[in-house]
């Protein structure tokens, strides 16, 4: 019978809407991904000072590096959005600022992530 109720109705009358752990889970999944991708990124960044522009670009254009950088930036901006969201939820106590900051954080993280993805694709595809 519960299929006739919306998640909101279930939450208001009968308790949990069963979506509570989604934020927690995605934060942990991106964290585990970033442990591995972060170590790769440090290795990548440490090679850059020894390379000129053409060699640095060629290094990132290698399919494995382009793929890992794509995954890295998506995980970084996703994890950053989830973390900043909690910080604002905890320390901002006025609903107006809460709304403005939460929307701004999401927009900026999507903007930053999309810009990074586009840059990586341009490098990987040679445009």
């Amino acid at each position: 019978m519960s299929t006739f109720r919306t998640p909101l109705k279930r939450a208001l009358v009968l308790g949990s809407a069963k979506h509570g752990v989604h934020h927690f889970l995605v934060q942990r999944l991106t964290a585990i991904a970033l442990v591995l991708l972060g170590l790769w990124f440090v290795w990548f960044a440490l090679r850059l000072p020894g390379l000129d522009y053409a060699a640095a670009r060629a290094l990132l254009a290698e399919p494995v590096n382009a793929l890992l950088m794509l995954l890295f930036v998506v995980a970084v901006f996703w994890h950053a959005q989830l973390g900043l969201q909690v910080v604002v939820e905890d320390y901002v106590h006025t609903s107006g600022w809460q709304l403005v900051l939460q929307v701004a954080i999401r927009f900026l993280c999507v903007l930053g992530g999309a810009a990074c993805v586009l840059a990586i694709l341009r490098i990987a595809l040679g445009r």
Partner: protein, 131 residues
């Protein structure tokens, strides 16, 4: 502010100093710092896609003294957030929650992050020293 001024947790001033409060607040502060640090990642990737001149500008900024200071700070923030993040992942499995373990691995992540950062920059100095 809310219409009624209610007492808010945490009451920072009434606590005796302990390592748990340091790791807790540093995890948030380094997280915020790393989020701001993604601007440098963004600049690097956009410059790499844009061409040699923009890339030279970003590379030059990274080699300037303010760039080095930011990179040292950013690498420490990454070291701390990485080590303490792994600690949090273990804690999610209720591992290391005894008080003596909690305190000990708090010190391990705090001091470990400094050691990791020092090793990283000693390595960088030996490789490209002074450049």
């Amino acid at each position: 502010m809310p219409a009624t001024a209610r007492p808010l947790s945490p009451h920072v001033s009434v606590y005796r100093w302990q390592v748990q409060m340091v790791t807790s607040i540093l995890h948030r502060l380094t997280g915020i710092a790393l989020a701001i640090g993604t601007l440098l990642l963004l600049a690097l990737l956009l410059a790499l896609a844009a061409g040699p001149d923009p890339y030279a500008t970003v590379a030059g900024f990274c080699r300037s003294w303010i760039g080095i200071v930011l990179l040292v700070g950013w690498s420490w923030a990454l070291s701390f957030h990485l080590l303490n993040g792994i600690r949090h992942l273990f804690q999610d499995f209720v591992w290391g929650y005894e008080i003596h373990q909690f305190v000990r691995n708090g010190f391990i992540t705090s001091i470990g992050s400094l050691v990791l950062t020092a090793l990283l920059w000693i390595g960088i100095y030996l490789q490209w020293g002074g450049a």
